[in-house]
Amino acid sequence: MHELAVTESILSIANSQAEKYPGARVNAIHLVLGSLSSLVDDSITFYWEIISHDTPCEGATLVFHRLPAKLICMECLTNYEIEAGIAVCPNCSSVKVKVLSGNEFRVDSIEIIEEEDVENDPH
């Protein structure tokens, strides 16, 4: 639901990187999202196509890397992963578990295509 604000932040981060390479265009942006971060890929992509128009990021692909949440059971020390929601320990059913990761929410890397021979200098 807050995907528009999130997409605007992604664009701002990507454009500020792209500005360091004048004339280059952004090909792809790699995002890392943990399964506890409650974001919808389709919705981000929808906004992306609208707001990246007329920026160095126009036409760039958003690549989503979804990470499962990692948990550890504090009773039997079983490590386990979950793709969605939350779950008790699959080994002993304990609720004394600790969430180790799953809230990731970051831009990991950006691919930029730089034209090496600029022949059509308008000036």
């Binding site: 639901m1 807050h2 604000a5 990187q17 929601g85 939350i86 004394k96 809230n103 950006i110 930029i112």
Partner: protein, 224 residues
């Protein structure tokens, strides 16, 4: 000819908001004013809870409220103003959450040096507000019995992101199927040390413990 350059960024998507939240926290700290961010689904009882909290504390402490609303309706802010307390309405323009910048605008309209406590009423929503730090000292979630016992399982980001859980409307427990063990298990998985206050704002049940906790927090953050 063209070449592809890979740039490692590794930047939190909401990093700019997080930075601004830190400056908000600094501002509150400078004046020794406790800031509480109050989040909940629509209808959980945020406004009732804030009104109850005001009535408990207003004789001893100076309180203001920042009201986040998706529309220009000033119903909640008007309730606070009618008590003679400072209230700032923030219209999010349809956005589903408050962010650090909106709260900064609200803080700038208040005389923080004359305040002990600022209550920030976030937009009613269990998803989006969890992602946006505001710079308040504590994040508080109001859950309510009629919402059902499965909410921690459905909104893990929210239940993970808070410091205090208020379970409101406990007077309805005899009338509504609500498995307290199942609810608490979900909370404990996500947030094992979460301080929880079961209350009924309607009848005043459980509010003494909440009152004691807030007073401790105000004293801890006050500078005098």
């Amino acid at each position: 000819m063209s070449k592809t350059i890979h740039i490692n960024v590794i930047e939190n998507i909401l990093g700019a908001n997080d930075q601004l939240a830190i400056t908000n926290e600094g501002l509150l700290h400078q004046y020794g004013t406790l800031g509480l961010n109050i989040m909940a689904s629509p209808g959980a009882g945020k406004t009732s809870f804030i009104m109850k909290t005001i009535s408990l504390l207003r004789d001893q402490y100076r309180i203001a409220v920042i009201e986040g609303d998706t529309s220009a309706a000033t119903i909640d802010a008007d309730k606070v103003s009618s008590l003679g307390l400072p209230a700032v309405q923030i219209n999010t323009g349809g956005d589903c959450h408050l962010d650090a910048n909106m709260v900064r605008n609200g803080l700038d309209k208040l005389h923080l040096k004359d305040l002990d406590l600022v209550l920030v009423e976030n937009v009613g929503n269990l998803v989006c507000p969890a992602a946006f730090k505001l710079g308040t000292h504590r994040n508080i979630l109001i859950a309510s019995v009629p919402e059902g016992d499965d909410k921690p399982y459905k909104y893990p980001a929210m239940y993970s992101a808070v410091d205090i859980l208020i379970l409101n409307k406990i007077d309805l427990l005899p009338y509504i199927p609500f498995n307290m063990d199942y609810f608490i298990d979900g909370v404990r998985i996500l947030n094992p040390n979460l301080i929880t206050f079961p209350v009924s704002c309607l009848h005043g049940t459980g509010l003494e413990a909440w009152n004691d906790w807030v007073v401790q927090e105000i004293i801890q953050y006050r500078r005098d």
